[in-house]
């Protein structure tokens, strides 16, 4: 009898135990997009967007302030009907105020929490994140999924690289590389957010400089980080009429860039080989001669672009291309973490662009 009662207890304990780590999907509020700003007192202001539970409903938007990331979550839970859950986070938007000093301390929670989603996208916002998230946005999707959508579509056209929390973390922890994040602004006219380019960081701090979308495509080519579609539109002639005839749009099919810092740490040599396809060229009739002419013009133009991008990176001390890690790995005896950013700024450029036109589409 005693044994039976004991066994009963054991069994009951297991039944009662049902809820220790239980985390019912129906009791959670899945936050899809979160934006963070720093208030003037140094607190964190978090704005979260959760998708509507019913189709066609309104998304759940909450803005709270707390001393730490988890403190904001705690504040949030005080205000919403379910538990806030960040494990399905799609986008983390950080305001410039957060990146003014160092981004890592704010992101620490996302790396430490086993629940968090490490492939959520990370982006920097030109205005306070709360303003962007609470402003009106015209979209077919609901607002909580919208930000992932615009980042994803821009990644497909190689305007910005895929920058997840995990990728950012690896860069943040490398002393030889500097962070870069997609840069988002708000376009008043179309009432939509807009990818403005690539924000440049020096170590963990935003440099206030950014590459515009044209430059960031070049940056991705230099970084060997292009997707299937990378389009470049350039003005190759001066004298045609209508104006459209002066322009050409090409698609980069394959790009190989080879960046090298010489052993004396004085020169930066960029060798870029591009295989391109002509997508649009108003003048028509690309003959062999024309082909040569076009590739020459384009090579010059792109070399100029590359120089400009490299200059911008150097002047803002942002080693986003990871030249430092190359030096540290293969030229270790000359590597000095302390003086690297000075050395980096002083590097002379030598750019060599080689363009191969592989197709002109279905007409000549």
């Amino acid at each position: 009898m005693k044994r039976a009662i004991f066994l009963l207890h054991v069994v009951l304990i297991f039944f009662l135990a049902a809820c220790w780590d239980q985390n019912l999907l129906k009791d959670t509020q899945l936050v899809y997009t979160a934006g963070y700003d720093q208030t003037e007192e140094g607190d964190i202001q978090a704005t979260t967007l959760a998708p509507p539970v019913e189709e066609g409903g309104v998304e759940n938007e909450v803005t709270v302030t707390g001393h730490s990331m988890l403190d904001t979550m705690y504040e949030m839970d005080l205000r919403i009907a379910e538990y806030a859950n960040f494990s399905k986070l799609q986008t983390v938007l950080i305001g410039e105020s957060l990146a003014a000093d160092s981004v890592y301390p704010f992101l620490d929670e996302l790396y430490r929490n086993p629940d968090s989603n490490l492939h959520a996208r990370l982006a920097l916002v030109a205005l306070p994140a709360v303003d962007l998230l609470s402003s009106e946005i015209e979209t077919q999707k609901n607002k909580s999924e919208y930000f992932k959508g615009i980042l994803e579509s821009s990644e497909l056209t190689s305007v910005i690289p895929y920058m997840s929390l995990q990728e950012a973390c690896t860069i943040i922890f490398s002393p030889e590389r500097d962070l870069y994040l997609p840069y988002i602004t708000y376009d008043e006219k179309t009432k939509r957010a807009k990818i403005a380019g690539l924000a440049l960081f020096h170590q963990k701090k935003f440099t206030e400089e950014y590459l515009n979308t044209e430059e960031s495509v070049i940056f991705n080519i230099l970084n060997n980080d292009i997707e299937e579609v990378a389009r470049i539109t350039r003005r190759v002639h001066e004298d045609r009429n209508p104006e459209v005839e002066n322009w050409i749009t090409i698609e980069v099919k394959d790009a190989k860039s080879n960046l090298k810092v010489n052993r004396q740490l004085s020169k930066l040599r960029a060798e870029v080989t591009l295989e391109i396809v002509v997508l649009e060229y108003g003048q028509n009739k690309i003959t062999n001669k024309k082909e040569e002419e076009l590739t020459n013009i384009l090579s010059d133009l792109l070399a100029e672009d590359i120089r400009r991008v490299l200059k911008k990176l150097q002047s803002s001390k942002s080693d986003a291309l990871g030249l430092g890690s190359q030096v540290a790995s293969f030229n270790a005896e000359r590597w000095d973490e302390a003086t690297w950013s000075e050395t980096y700024q002083q590097l002379d450029q030598e750019v060599d662009v080689d363009i191969k036109l592989i197709s002109t589409g279905i007409i000549e």
Binding site: A18, Q22, N23, L24, K26, L30, P51, S87, Q90, D115
Partner: protein
């Protein structure tokens, strides 16, 4: 006994008169009313003989015929005749023996001749049995459509018909103190491992029951571990399945009155084989076999995994599916376990309800149960529609298994998994799965490992377990039967290579 002079006699010659004999027979057969004792007077030779038989057990038309025949023979040869059906006994025949023979369907013609009892036994049991038809539970698309029926003789006939070899051995055992049921152990003595046969005989001999109802009843006494949820003998009503297994070195056991044979040593994968696999093309056979094995995992784990995901680890749901899932479970009042139980029990109810109903009614119940309840229960908001999908998929998967025994095992086993998933999520499921795996590894059928050819691992065993290689490649017998005669066949595709030369 009413007669004061009555005393128990042991053998026939101890009785003195017909009267006395009748009393003794009647006593030994328990004064049963269906015992017929006819006194026959031969006018010519002034002699009385009696005819004893149990009426329902004998074929009276045949009896007449035989009597007529033997009379003619006697008239012709003036000698007593014996035939395959007529046998003579002398007076030392024990009454117990006599009654036992009566119960086997033998009629006795007894007369006193020169102070000696002359006894002739005429074997004419009535043989009523179902026609040979396809077993309902093991229907196949192509191949033989004949199955066993309730008569042991007819079943053995079917086996002998297919295996005309002098090595086919049939050993009879009487089981049941009261029922005296005949059972047969069948094996091919140059293929089966005789150690296993001996082991089986040892187990049969230790059976001590009053009545042997059916094979399923005896199975529990014969199997290695009856506390295991897994069946350790293959049960079939198909003769081709039995002969196929006999030729691989397994042994079959049948009981008179049961249309089923149990086959051992069985292993886990033999429950997932169907004769259809061999009758079709091998690629298709392999595909369906793999499908069935996957269905085992689905039937066992799908509801548990779903519960674990919904209540513990919804992080694993991919991004695009999160919101639809969330919308489906939103507002369901019950915890996922109860939600699943409601549906699982409904499905079990529908199954149990339809199984005994005639076909058209059963189908109606299936439609009503499946469609109407399923739809209504989602609309009422008791159960989420994802759960309906999960449970329905599970139910279908569990019925894919060709063996009914394994099918019910799987259906029972998923409940503990659902409970573990509710309590501990993935960890609980893994712990359950590990326990199950260890159990399967330790389980044996007639002393042979149950999970062979995976544990212990045999490369050659894969050819006919998870795969179904072309039949001319399966030239060795499976290792788990421990057969000493490993080579099954020669190289049947020789002509192909001969042509090439």
């Amino acid at each position: 006994m009413e007669s004061a002079s009555f005393s128990k006699k042991v053998s026939v010659h101890q009785t003195q008169s017909i009267q006395e004999l009748q009393e003794q027979v009647s006593y030994y057969s328990g004064n049963t009313n269906d015992l017929v004792m006819l006194q026959i007077h031969h006018e010519s030779i002034e002699r009385t003989s009696i005819m004893v038989y149990i009426e329902p057990l004998i074929d009276s038309v045949k009896l007449e015929e035989l009597l007529e025949w033997s009379k003619e023979m006697k008239w012709l040869t003036n000698e007593r005749v014996t035939s395959s059906k007529i046998q003579s006994y002398d007076g030392t025949l024990m009454f117990e023996q006599l009654v036992r023979q009566l119960l086997e369907g033998e009629a006795f013609l007894i007369c006193m001749e020169e102070d000696q009892w002359r006894i002739e036994g005429i074997k004419i049991p009535k043989q009523l049995s179902r026609a040979i038809e396809e077993p309902k539970s093991e229907q196949i698309v192509r191949g033989s459509h004949s199955g066993f029926n309730e008569s042991l003789a007819s079943n053995i006939y079917q086996i002998r018909q297919r295996l005309k070899t002098s090595h086919l051995v049939i050993k009879y055992f009487q089981i049941g103190k009261e029922s005296n049921t005949t059972s047969a152990l069948i094996y091919v003595d140059n293929i089966a491992n005789l150690m296993i046969v001996e082991e089986f005989i040892r187990r049969i001999q230790s059976i001590d029951v009053d009545i042997a109802h059916s094979v399923g009843f005896l199975e529990e006494m014969l199997e290695d571990n009856c506390f295991s949820p897994f069946p350790q003998f293959l049960v079939t009503e198909r003769a081709d399945r039995v002969t196929g297994n006999l030729s691989e070195g397994r042994i079959a056991f049948m009981l008179d009155g049961s249309p089923t044979a149990i086959i051992g040593p069985a292993n886990f994968f033999s429950f997932y084989q169907s004769p259809d696999d061999y009758n079709g093309r091998f690629i298709i056979g392999t595909f369906y076999r793999l499908l069935r094995l996957c269905s085992f995992l689905v039937a066992l784990l799908l509801p548990a995994m779903y519960i674990a995901i919904i209540s513990f680890h919804f992080e694993v749901i991919p991004e695009a599916l999160t919101l639809p899932t969330k919308r489906a479970v939103e507002g369901i009042p019950y915890p996922p376990l109860f939600e699943a139980l409601i549906l699982e029990i409904t499905i079990e109810l529908i199954r149990e309800a339809t199984i005994r109903l005639p076909f058209p009614v059963g189908q109606t119940i299936g439609v009503v149960g499946g469609l109407v309840i399923g739809d209504a229960v989602v609309n009422a908001g008791f159960v989420s529609n994802v759960m309906v999908i999960v449970v329905a998929l599970t139910a279908i998967s569990s019925f894919v298994v060709p063996s009914i025994e394994m099918n019910s095992t799987v259906r029972i086993l998923r409940f503990p998994f659902m409970l573990l998933a509710t309590l501990f999520g993935f960890y609980g499921v893994t712990v359950g799965l590990t326990l199950l795996l260890i159990h399967l590894i330790r389980l044996e059928s007639l002393g042979m490992p149950y999970l062979s050819p995976f544990a212990p691992f045999h490369k050659s065993g894969m050819r006919d377990t998870i795969l179904r290689m072309p039949s001319w490649l399966q030239s060795t017998r499976p290792a788990e039967t421990m057969t000493l005669n490993k080579i099954r066949q020669g190289f049947s595709k020789r002509w192909h290579y001969a042509n090439k030369k």
